[in-house]
């Protein structure tokens, strides 16, 4: 590692921030808050500048920094960013300062700030790691701060929720660790050294087909719990509901993405063949999740739980797009990860603000807030429509790309998934109607509207929601090269070909048709040439015969 590496710095700054916070006396809350915010903002600025400095034409990993770490195992400190991880890093960088400013822990600011900063380091480390071992370390490290945040600053059933969250994820990671070690050791056949470098491992592709399938399943186990995919999702509603607002924001906005990101980054690139073969299973689980999450969300009485279940549905979409294995579906999935982070993060913030005022999350208790809190109602509406996927807002772009991407290759899954969009409109609008419409009575009537600080917190999120909905091109430009490269990799190693329409849309089809025509033309020409040659040959033979007969 030579000189200054911005990625390493981005991981280290929150850690240093947390250490500094830990050294400040408990009573100096203002200093603690300032230090925590400074560290988070610094990382946020760095992540945004990273997005600008990122070379949109390159599909390779950029800003790579490498240093040898544990030579015995071939582990190195290897960080890098490409189009797939770039915006997740930016999302992390933006959401953390917002979560820190926008919420009030009410007690023990010191511990809270320190854990949040450590959590940020864990998230960034996971997104940036190009070394499987380092990824796993950070992936597991994120559990700990989240566990303490939910358990320490959450609501009534926080201990149960935090334990459930921790153990579920650890259960998944147990499979991944064994799978990871198996992958690395089986890849190091003959003279090839042990390495955890995912670029190298993806190139080697040394696993036998059925072994690769088992290892893929082991990895998927970890990510499926994290996403969460349908049968492993039960920790999520509890964790979300019991977590403090900032915990929910980060959990939904960033941590769940670790699962989908892991599926894209490791599932697809390390086990292309297995991913292609097992895609139907994952797609089915994703679609079941979409419908199940939506149905459950509709039936919730608790506003936060409703948003939590909507996350299950939304992440089902992302998995659908990922395992459609088309360029559009995949880039839609990556974009939707960012979108979901923004809109669900914003929803949790708003619900948190309502809770701060009313001290309840029960939908039945809330009524007519539109009158008492008009600004809140407006913001809620925008965020809600983003979550539903209204054209013009960010959610639409991602969902649309996912649906057309998956429709090409996985028609029926896409069709069922589309029903989820309609259900999303149902549960969110119905909830909005119950909470905001009507005439407020009692406590609901006297609520104060959003403060200036709260509006300022929401502003960047709303800006991004609208911006990505109207003009997603700069983001997609940076995502696409990497996604294309990944799909090509899957095609090469997985013995699979995506339909042309999924690459370039109508133009692709036209190109393909032209190509086909040219090919057909060539084939016809060859055929006629062949026939001509045959004819000539027959003629020659006949002539020969005639000559010999004549003699």
């Amino acid at each position: 590692m030579e000189g200054f590496s911005i990625l390493t710095a981005m991981v280290l700054v929150p850690v240093i921030g947390a250490a500094v916070v830990a050294l400040i006396p408990r009573s100096r809350e203002d200093v603690i808050k300032a230090v925590g915010l400074a560290a988070a903002v610094l990382v946020g600025v760095a992540s945004i500048s990273l997005a600008f400095a990122f070379d949109a034409n390159s599909a390779e990993y950029q800003f790579v920094s490498e240093a040898s770490w544990i030579e015995e195992f071939g582990v190195s400190w290897l960080l890098g960013v490409d189009g797939i991880s770039l915006f997740l890093v930016v999302l992390t960088g933006i959401l953390f300062p917002i979560a820190l400013v926008g919420t009030d822990p009410h007690r023990d600011v010191k511990g809270y700030t320190a854990w949040m900063l450590l959590l940020e380091a864990g998230c960034l480390g996971s997104f940036l790691a190009l070394d499987l071992f380092v990824f796993f370390l950070f992936f597991e490290l994120t559990l700990l701060p989240m566990y303490f945040i939910i358990g320490g600053w959450g609501y009534e059933k926080r201990v149960y929720a935090s334990l459930k969250f921790f153990l579920f994820t650890l259960f998944g990671s147990a499979f991944m660790l064994v799978g990871m070690v198996a992958l690395v050791f089986l890849s190091a056949k003959g003279t090839a050294p042990l390495t955890f470098d995912i670029r190298e491992l993806a190139e080697r592709g040394a696993l036998a087909e059925d072994t690769a399938r088992w290892v893929f399943l082991a990895f998927t186990m970890a990510f499926a719990v994290k996403v969460p995919l349908f049968p492993f999702h039960t920790w999520l509603p509890d964790a979300h509901t019991q977590a403090p607002t900032a915990g929910s924001v980060i959990l939904a906005g960033v941590l769940l993405k670790l699962g989908t990101y892991g599926l894209v980054r490791f599932g697809l690139s390390l086990f292309p063949k297995a991913a292609v073969d097992l895609a139907p299973v994952l797609l089915t689980l994703a679609v079941v999740g979409i419908i199940y999450g939506a149905v459950c969300a509709t039936m919730q009485k608790d506003l936060k739980r409703l948003v939590a279940y909507s996350s299950v549905a939304h992440l089902g979409f992302i998995v659908l797009g990922t395992f459609a294995l088309t360029t559009q579906g995949l880039s839609g999935g990556v974009l939707q990860m960012v979108n979901h982070g923004l809109s669900t993060g914003a929803l949790f913030l708003l619900v948190g603000m309502i809770y701060e005022r009313r001290h309840t999350r029960e939908i039945a208790e809330l009524h007519g807030l539109q009158r008492s809190m008009p600004v809140m109602a407006v913001m809620f509406t925008v965020v809600m429509f983003s979550s539903i996927g209204l054209p013009g807002l960010n959610g639409f772009v991602g969902e649309f790309l996912i649906l057309i991407g998956s429709f090409v290759t996985r028609r029926w899954w896409a069709v069922v998934g589309t029903a989820g969009v309609i259900l999303a409109a149902l549960y969110l609008l119905w909830a909005y109607q119950r909470v905001f419409h009507g005439t407020p009575e009692g406590e609901n009537a006297t609520l104060t509207d959003m403060t200036l600080r709260e509006r300022a917190v929401m502003a960047p999120l709303l800006f991004l929601i609208v911006f990505l909905g109207v003009y997603p091109q700069p983001v997609l430009d940076r995502i696409n090269p990497s996604v294309e490269r990944l799909v090509r990799h899957v095609e090469e190693k997985g013995g699979y070909e995506q339909p042309a329409v999924a690459v370039n849309g109508a133009e692709g089809v036209r190109e393909e048709r032209q190509k086909k025509e040219v090919e057909e033309g060539q084939a016809k020409q060859q055929e006629s040439e062949r026939k001509l040659a045959e004819f000539k040959e027959a003629e020659d033979k006949a002539r020969e015969k005639a000559r010999s007969g004549g003699q």
Partner: protein, 518 residues
């Protein structure tokens, strides 16, 4: 067999001059006792004897001076071990004292480990003895003797020496377990440990006898020679002997189903003694077990691997599952130590070099984690060493944030959270198992660590997430003092766990180099 000293051939000993000897007696061939090959062992024993004389001769008896002396002895043996390490690095491993003792990376690794445990154990004991008003230097003396036994187990090249080491280790530990003889539990622990320990020693000895019967020697090198030279070495007697050795060692390391003494003894013994037991006695048991099985019975691998597989699975699962239902912190840690033994057994089952290195790394890092944990247990146990119910930890973070944080780090390291040595230790043995194609065992190990994570987290929940006002009030009225020596132990163990979790290379290299078996 041909190495036995009675056959009249000069091997590596001194041939004594025969002048003036009575008729009819063959000249004796005497072994060359190289004291330098056992320097750390002898330093510990010598330290114990000096301490005894000191106490007998000097009227003034400042207990802190005994602790300081023990620490100095521990450091001296650490220094001696280090010199030997450098020597082995230069000149290669060798055997000494008529092939009975071996000086190689492996034995020195354990000398270093045991020396460190002595130092930390003495520091832990000092304030405990003062608090409990247990006078006399017995704690230090017995700990030094017991540690020398542990070293002998590691450096034994003869099953008889292994047995001697086992007994030196154990007998001192039986007494240590009953040190706090005003407490009924302590006495009970001593008796229980003694009866079962003596039983296991007998089983071990019977195993040694059978192995001798089958191979004609108790010397490990000669057993290897026999196994390599014979066409079909595995016969019933030999396998029965190996199995009995495994049982004997299994008792010492608390492998299921030979673990039944563990919870009661860990609970009853004075807390620092329990810490010493969990760190030192377990390491010593494994020191003997790993050498005998890796180096000596390597050719019988296919016979013992399945048995160890079953042992490892049972140990992992029973340890972690039963820990969940315990209400006493010492019992929780006892069952957790059982499950850690299961992890070391994973390394043994892999039966490859990585497995050995992984097991060594595991033992080294676990020693620090468990010593630190029992330091906290000792502190929270308060005067009388009795407050060990889990409720005693309720709200600890509010009273003693640093103590709670240290305990959390140590517990989470035991649970295998990244960036601690605990994670790397698990990773090391798991990777050994995967390399040895024991995928199912690796998976069972990791899943059991998820179960284990539950009870470690349960303790952190108590420390951090209980905001009961009444408890807090009680906490204010009942102060929890942290003596300086205890703070040192805690700081050292936490620093080791975290620092070498972040920069693991030195310790990993140390463990790998220690696999230079003779």
């Amino acid at each position: 067999m041909n190495g036995l000293p009675m056959n009249g051939l000069p091997m590596n000993g001194l041939l004594v001059a025969q002048a003036g000897q009575p008729e009819g007696l063959a000249p004796l061939e005497l072994p060359n006792v190289e004291y330098s090959a056992m320097a750390p062992h002898l330093i510990l024993i010598g330290g114990a004897l000096v301490l005894l004389v000191w106490v007998a001769m000097v009227r003034r008896r400042p207990p802190w001076a005994w602790a300081a002396f023990t620490v100095a002895v521990g450091l001296a043996s650490l220094g001696a071990s280090w010199l030997m390490w450098l020597d082995v690095g230069r000149n290669g491993p060798r055997t000494a004292v008529a092939d009975a003792v071996v000086v190689d990376g492996y034995s020195i690794f354990f000398m270093v480990l045991v020396s460190v445990i002595v130092v930390l154990g003495a520091l832990m004991g000092e304030s405990f003895l003062k608090r409990e008003d247990i006078r006399g230097p017995e704690f230090y003396v017995l700990m030094l003797l017991s540690s020398s036994g542990a070293m002998f187990m590691a450096s034994a090249n003869d099953l008889v020496i292994t047995f001697l080491g086992l007994e030196i280790l154990s007998i001192a530990l039986y007494v240590l377990a009953g040190l706090d003889n005003r407490r009924m539990e302590s006495r009970e622990a001593a008796i229980k440990y003694f009866v079962l320990g003596a039983f296991s020693s007998a089983v071990f000895l019977y195993g040694v006898a059978l192995v001798y019967g089958a191979t004609g020697s108790t010397n490990l090198g000669e057993i290897v020679g026999y196994l390599q030279s014979s066409v079909a070495p595995a016969n019933g007697v030999l396998l029965a002997g190996v199995a009995l050795l495994l049982v004997g060692f299994g008792f010492k390391v608390a492998a299921v189903p030979f673990h039944t003494w563990t919870p009661d003894v860990y609970q009853g013994a004075p807390s620092p003694v329990t810490g010493f037991m969990a760190a030192g006695a377990k390491a010593a048991g494994f020191a003997g077990l790993l050498r005998v099985f890796f180096a000596t019975f390597d050719t019988l691998k296919l016979d013992w691997q399945p048995i160890v597989w079953v042992l490892a699975v049972a140990t992992l699962l029973v340890g972690s599952v039963l820990a969940i239902v315990q209400e006493d912190i010492k019992r929780v840690l006892a069952y957790s130590s059982i499950s850690h033994a299961g992890f070391v057994l994973i390394g043994l089952q892999a039966a490859n070099e990585k497995g050995l290195a992984g097991s060594l790394y595991y033992l080294l890092t676990y020693a620090f984690m468990v010593l630190g944990s029992f330091t906290v247990v000792t502190l929270v146990g308060r005067k009388g060493d009795a407050r060990h119910d889990l409720d005693a930890y309720r709200g600890l973070s509010a009273r003693r944030p640093a103590l709670a944080l240290a305990f959390t780090v140590l517990l989470l390291a035991q649970a295998g959270i990244p960036f601690t040595t605990g994670f790397l230790a698990k990773f090391y043995v798991i990777s050994a198992a995967v390399e040895g194609r024991s995928y199912s065992l690796a998976l069972i190990g990791m899943l059991s660590s998820v179960v284990a994570a539950f009870f470690y987290l349960r303790i952190t929940v108590l420390m951090y997430m209980s905001t009961d006002e009444e408890e807090a009030e009680e906490a204010r009225t009942e102060p929890l003092a942290i003596p300086r020596s205890m703070a040192v132990v805690l700081a050292v163990s936490v620093a080791f766990t975290v620092a070498f979790g972040l920069l693991p290379a030195p310790v990993i290299d140390f463990a790998r180099d220690a696999t230079l078996l003779i």
